[in-house]
Symmetry: C2
Subunit: 480 residues, 2 copies
Amino acid sequence: MTVMNQAEAEAYGIQAGDRVELRLPGDKRQVVVMEVSQSRVAPGQLGLWREAASICKCKDGTIVEAQLLSRPPSIQAIRKKLLGEELTYDEIHSIIADIVEGNLSPVETTYYVASGFVKPNSDAELFYLSRAIAETGEQMNLPVEVVDKHSIGGLPGNRTTMVVTPIIASLGLYMPKTSSRAITSPAGTSDTMEVLAPVTFSMEEIRRIVKKTHACLVWGGGLNIAPADDRIIKLSRPLALEPYDKMLVSIMAKKVAMGVDYLVIDMPIGGTAKVTSRKVSNQLEAKFNYLGKKFGMKVKVIKTMAREPIGRGVGPALEARDVLRVLQRKALKPDDLEQKAAYLAGELLELKGFCRRGEGERIARRQLDSGAAWRKMQEIIEAQGGNPTVDSEAVAAGTYHYEIHAPREGKVSVIDNRAINEVCMNLGAPREKLAGLHLHVRWGQPVRKGDKLLTLYAPSKARLELGLTAHEHSPIITII
Amino acid sequence: MTVMNQAEAEAYGIQAGDRVELRLPGDKRQVVVMEVSQSRVAPGQLGLWREAASICKCKDGTIVEAQLLSRPPSIQAIRKKLLGEELTYDEIHSIIADIVEGNLSPVETTYYVASGFVKPNSDAELFYLSRAIAETGEQMNLPVEVVDKHSIGGLPGNRTTMVVTPIIASLGLYMPKTSSRAITSPAGTSDTMEVLAPVTFSMEEIRRIVKKTHACLVWGGGLNIAPADDRIIKLSRPLALEPYDKMLVSIMAKKVAMGVDYLVIDMPIGGTAKVTSRKVSNQLEAKFNYLGKKFGMKVKVIKTMAREPIGRGVGPALEARDVLRVLQRKALKPDDLEQKAAYLAGELLELKGFCRRGEGERIARRQLDSGAAWRKMQEIIEAQGGNPTVDSEAVAAGTYHYEIHAPREGKVSVIDNRAINEVCMNLGAPREKLAGLHLHVRWGQPVRKGDKLLTLYAPSKARLELGLTAHEHSPIITII
């Protein structure tokens, strides 16, 4: 960003937001977006934002020439889309490339995001978009076939990834898993994995980890995968817009960048999940299948009902404890997490053609029972620089906690996912790894007055009180 | 704008773009939009932009409390519109009021601007929008009936306003005229009037001028009329979007704010004008009539063909000279300007019911011939602080000029309005009042080799050369 005197800008017909090419000493050229100011710079001067000055290697007093540039072709493409026309691959690529290179301002990019509401993207446009977003970022390029499992968010404690990945890799398949951190939930897979090992690596480091262990469990946000997607998401936040098309493109672009060949999509459906109805899930499934075909990727969508968290723990350490309890075959292991992970792993094995139809889940369970999955997880933890001898019961120790008991006899009729989020974030999750809660009851379970319903965990007394106050406003469990 | 530490923001679930209320010493409260930074501020600190700090009266070390606010209802309304639904008056008012009060960020406001492309605004929405934009700004509130004439832009040298206004006011009607400055053209009416008198006044000063003279010729941009319109226009510039609906709303909102009761709209139609086809002009006419009815304003749309500039001069001083030549009845007066001004003034008189149908133009011409219109203009110039004894031939004196001659015999087949703009802006218009050009020939006129075609005027030799270079690239007149 660069600023020039407003009167001077007017004299030259330059307006705020115009692109100007700066010709710098040593014949360097740099395109900047111009701002104008009545007072901050005098005529004949340009003010450069600190970052712009360092990119341009300019100091006070450097003499530069400035030339007004015509609008980039991507602007024409955005106008076209805003007027309801369909775009070609070249047009979409020009928009995405200009977003990535910083040639489009936030306002211009917002027009593009909004243009998706004028007329829904055609299937072809969704393909072009996913492809352009993948191609304008870093790519994994492994010389082997890659399998993956993706859970569409919206369910707290859905930590199947950390169970599925070691099962699959223990069978010799390649599953380089990148995950996100939580934004508006108590923990993302990366937050949970980070309890056990570092998760931030360069693409080159990830390739080494995957070569050694056939898998990884790393944070995708530290890489430059699908960078356009991040910018588009940022501009969607102020209005809390999350069109399904955008989610679809975002998932597929990242899978393409990671070179995925076989993909199982776990799609929970329910009032508090991202996919709220069976009709929407069917539409999404058709589009995932279409895009998979275009990219030469085998895709299978698995729809499940979303009614309560998977596992008992919510929050990074408490979810990691659930995962370890399953992998380490502890008595307290949450059966639903094991069940769902084995099922998804089995589907992935069958999709890959690793085994006959109907054999996958049994094979997955065998890898858990034999300890092979845990040994693989130990390899991954070690390759990522964590402690491979960690025990499930050690990860959530040393916290303040508080038990909540049933106020009356009855049945658990509601477990409110939104209230779980609210309470956990007040307890400090995901930043505070130890913050979160453990559910002692399941949906539909009969309880007696005084039975333990949940335990809240926090790293400090103050945080625990914040969480309790939040729980008074938004109780998690309803007994009727 | 205020910035907080990114890690801290994440811990509190605050995202860039969120609204936060600052509680300041002395129980003052101020809503700010939060930015986040990894390094510029430490946890526990807030960084305020200089303007924000001065509004909040904060110094380094001031202790403030910050509270995350929920999203304003206008955000919900923008989402609704973006999803293709029609908005109520209350919803539209909430958006416009939040734009004016700075409660919506540029990105959020852009979503609103873009939402107009999802589904065109209904007639009712256009009414709500014009009303909300008028009501959220300053209003004129004269205790008399007000008449007005509005020219839809796109034609250089269309200075009829400065002839129509004194004709109308000389007959005792009230015509408080606010105009714009040029943005992408060589001169707006305000730029031209400024050659004769100051044009920047407060609403209160304008009321005094109008009370005294029944008219004014002032700059509307210095007032707080329809402030939402200015912000929306600013956000439309990067994509050079100018939907007709927005133009319609912008005009009507300003007329409502000025309390106009009778309005003649001069709508030139042509390839280089804003309205490019007869079909569009008919649609616009119908909407102007609908809105007029809703606001209790009598509206008449006059459609004219736009082929060449009205008058001979282009640029502030050269256009002022044309206007004065008409008012002062000089031999060199441009007949087309006189003709069009008398016609529009006549239509306005008839619309108001000042005279019978068919009498208006004759009455207007009488006011010119008798000198009554010039005497009224002298009153207006004097009331605005200018020199009422100015002579037409004095306003454009003392410039560098250069004549361009016909290279061959033939007929004037093209007068390119875009080339006129380009050359005049290179000569320095509108900032340089004396810069511009004078056309010696009209469209269709036969010329001999060596005949004068145009004279370029500039305040300096350097500017004159810039204009000549521009003319080499974009010749204004084509002879065939």
